[in-house]
Symmetry: D2
Subunit: 364 residues, 4 copies
């Protein structure tokens, strides 16, 4: 499988930035999962936030559920969600068609598809396809919540500014849902936004780190070799454009710890067996241990800049200077937050369906 992920609940993405539509097919969902179209709309809106950070607010992407949902519930058959493309100005691209944008996929797509790629607006590689991912994640999220599972992501770091750590995770996840800019500390959020605007003014861009928590997972999800919780999640998360690192628990910080510091001692609590610390990020031996699953994604700065950049012409191999025109986001960290939530929700559905069977997440 190429553009599909998931053993039990599978997700297939299709579409190009300037084609008729983008979309997603979800298969393996339980019948009887309640579908909340307003919630999908709300999550799509979080991917396109208001304010000076991004281009002027546009309405969230309208979507059509083509199949698999009836009378407000999943039917158990494949769900296709389609988002028509509008506002596509293909003419803009002709004069830069052969100039490979640095750290974009123009060159690799050209090598892979031998010139048949639809290069307009990044084609199939466009970040726009994450809208379909968000819609898919938003479709399943309420069923996870109904099972006591919550997922939330905050901007742990952006443009060199750090957010506070997760505290009471359930409360923080609830709070994050209402934030337009997903940093838990208001002052940090303000400072991050100032630096994003500064980068924008300089024709530059900034990156950051997103930190995610998943709570309410029973122990026992995941497999020892290959389909570890870490491997399954990382595989999915790396599909998000701009993610270049994924770490669990203390992650790279573990490299400099001693075992006596790093180890998470088991202990008895009033909620059952737990660990005193959570340096392992809720996963031991690839399997959930009942503690919150915690991970972080490194998000590179947006590669599209309004500054001139050195590159080559893909036809001739000759040096060229690329001067991008039009609107560009100086940062996508805050927009990627909800994409990480969505990808995580879909991966969690897959793990649950494998363990508990097809019907578990539904009304039965």
């Amino acid at each position: 499988m190429k553009n599909t992920i998931g053993n039990h609940v599978s997700v297939t993405l299709f579409g190009e930035s300037h084609g008729p539509s983008i979309g997603v097919v979800l298969d393996g969902l339980a019948p009887g999962m309640r579908v909340d179209e307003e919630y999908i709309t709300a999550m799509l809106a979080q991917r396109r936030p208001a304010g000076a950070l991004s281009t002027a607010r546009r309405e969230p992407d309208p979507f059509v559920i083509e199949s698999g949902v009836w009378q407000g519930y999943t039917t158990g058959t494949p769900v296709c969600i389609r988002i028509p493309n509008t506002d596509t100005r293909s003419g803009d691209y002709a004069d830069t068609r052969w100039l490979a944008r640095p750290s974009h996929a123009d060159y690799t797509a050209h090598q892979k598809y031998h010139g048949f790629e639809d290069y307009r607006g990044g084609g199939h590689f466009s970040g726009r396809l994450t809208a379909a991912l968000v819609a898919a994640g938003a479709l399943v999220m309420p069923s996870l919540v109904a099972k006591g599972i919550a997922i939330g992501t905050h901007i742990q770091r952006c443009a060199g500014v750090a957010d506070r750590d997760f505290g009471d995770i359930a409360q923080d996840i609830a709070a994050l849902q209402k934030l337009d800019f997903g940093a838990l500390d208001a002052a940090a959020a303000e400072e991050m936004q100032q630096r994003i605007l500064k980068a924008k003014a300089e024709g530059d861009s900034v990156g950051g780190v997103l930190e995610t928590a998943v709570i309410g997972l029973e122990p026992g999800l995941g497999e020892p070799w290959f389909d570890t919780v870490e491997g399954v999640l990382a595989h999915a998360l790396y599909a998000i454009p701009a993610v270049k690192g994924v770490e669990f628990g203390a992650g790279f910080g573990l490299a400099d710890m001693t075992g006596s510091v790093a180890n998470d001692a088991f202990c008895q609590t009033d909620r059952g067996i737990a660990t005193a610390t959570n340096h392992s990020g809720g996963v031991n031996g690839g399997i959930t241990n009942g503690m919150p699953v915690i991970f972080r994604c490194a998000v590179r700065p947006t590669p599209t800049l309004s500054r001139p950049q050195n590159t080559i012409d893909m036809r001739t191999g000759e040096a060229a200077v690329l001067q991008s025109k039009g609107r560009h986001d100086p940062c996508i960290v805050h927009r990627a937050r909800v994409v990480v939530d969505a990808v995580t929700a879909l991966a969690v559905c897959d793990l649950l369906a494998g363990r508990y069977g097809t019907d578990w997440l539904g009304a039965q």
Copy 2:
């Protein structure tokens, strides 16, 4: 699939630490790949290095190729490599059976398998199974080399000591093959080993970071969504026990860069199109761009310590103190190096077979 990875070249691990055998089945290999049993033996020996760092040198694990190889070449049918278990002293485990070792898989295995797990020596979760992975990787490696692809991993960091960066990667990879302790800088290697011995003396353990380079990959490998090069590699790498983070190129370091610094400008070289820097680690949009693929794995300190540790009894949930007995490695970073190489080699075979077809890596 649970204990299997790979779409085209698939790898299935089986075995428990104290069962009759561990092993691996490789399917989808080209017919006509030359198999070098001495090289397999050598790579297995690197997983069990000599010296004071580990237990006294033992011979490398003897292996049996049960199928799929004939007269020195792969036949194109599934290859099963089996490594019999010997030297298993099961009696050692009975009195600590119910004490969950912190940050080990005892508790999660118990939750997942409801008490039917073979807990002896970590069972299916034992690091011993990486011997089968190493044998599998060593079986395919010469065919990659014959295609101009080289893979090498150095200990970028261990016990707080940093190695030098990769320089001439081809030379460094060649040098690493001959090193017992895989740090490129001799002084750093010495210091790392001293600190490992110190940790051992204190009943403690240390971790580190492994950095890997893959050179010789053509542009165009990988898929835009989900089966990205990063996703495919990370999925496989997280199977290695103790890996808790994977990052590509500048990885988490990208989070604090601006786009104008992070972007890798394309340029023309005497070897064709390249990029002036390689912060992207050889991958744009999930697809190889022809630059070296560079990634790092965070390796946690070995969770088994000779110090007493707090835990619980899994039967009763009551607090307990675990006092491990016997030999324990104070560090596995240097041993995991060859496991990372092997896993990488197998994932690269999978990517190549998907793009170029079944026969490409063989003699045809």
Copy 3:
């Protein structure tokens, strides 16, 4: 995977008879395959033939290629073809909602989906979804033809009337493309149609056998265990509603032969090595041997009848009589012909991509 088939070229179906759209996602296609929309239209028209046998001629289903095709060629990214539903009169179904149509999927869908199924018009089980399969098959067919591969299906038997056997297969396949009713012998075709009309007049339905030939396949496709050519094709063909048997070569006829009759002697011909007979249907040990691949599908009579039928009410379990209203096809054998071609074309693409790599069927 549930509603997906194919290891290398994958096909995912979505949609319900009375939902907004049905459709298909094809992934793993080579870039640079020429797409002929007129040919797709023509194959869709063959699924809805003219004449008294079926309902009055309607135009072929309009389709939209949402992604993966640009400027007349596949791009190499997922192709979504969508066919909007129109002419859906949902009101018709309310009063028979709980009466399980015999040999239809109403009862099994109800058991599987716990009442959340969209039952209108058969929902996801509707034969209408084969239109999406036909469109997908028609999209890839010209690329197979360009590689010298031809696929054709004739009505070997219908309503008790036998067609002549395949003769010169290439010529017969060419002739079949132009036939509205796909029997090779004109007199047999006429007799079959008379019997279909007779069944219709009696409120009854008839079945038949479809025989397919694939020519131009190189020896060496398929795998010895599990992904045999027979297994891969049969898996796909059984997705066609009404197919209840699949046999290769002499098939069930082999059961009564002796080995000395059944065996296909190898011989040298001016076109290379061949076999003197083809009782094996072009497949030995699961692998193509270069002879035409020949198979037959048993097609049951359409289960929808205008006669009253005994059944039960799914709510109460009580006996009931079902009196279907509206138009019903007294036979689908002739319509299923092009569906078998399409499914075969897709399965062949999958086998080819596995062996020769992703790009093989494209312009490269």
Copy 4:
């Protein structure tokens, strides 16, 4: 996946007839399934029956469970069962190495593997590998029985002689377990065996049809498109060497029925909803309907004959005469019976695990 089948419970075969071992890896089994090694031995013995029909009785194949079973129960981790090869006389094969045996896989293997195939004794294509399948099926069968599911296969037809139909299926399945030669009617069994001996005396071979019943399956197993019960079973069954046709219910017989005869009317019984007839073989729309799942496999006559046969030399393409030496089975229908049972048991496990989750078949 090539030599692997199953989405949830996966089966991977390895081995060559004259290599060190053949074997199978089962993954995705529930923890806590009771393993009965005597039963495995008994089923392996049925694959190698006594008497004049086959070569002189040899002991059943000794097997080693290398992993995944401990203290008599599955652990939930991959089960590897290995059967060492003994009694391999490779020298016999050298002088016929290049003569492609008609209707065997020699030629197709040579084309597929480019001469690297281990041709001795059929290599990976040898019917001997079905011993590993039988062992795997026998490992899971008692857990199916514990859930009220029974599987049995009788020789519906052999050498032109017909067995009686299934009567009381549960009783017939019980009876079949005790039969050495699996025809339900004793006189038919005797006649079949006489004809097999006659064929043997003539240096020839005979084929037949195996009919299988699966009882105790709940309604709702299977998927509408592609992973239909028929498609999943047929895919697996075609892996059995010599199977060239698979049909469900009335199968090809449906082609000549009218719908009013073929349809299975639903009715209420004291055991719940059932159908008055079972022409659909227990499957509607690809999904089980609670009636017995009934299917038949066409088994070709053994292609190995002691008569001289015309063929070619694969090196030169020149005509040659093949004179096989040594022992050959004049019929494998009676031996394949238990292989069909095993393959069916494994496919049923896969369907169950997909629907009810990983643990369902275990002790939990």
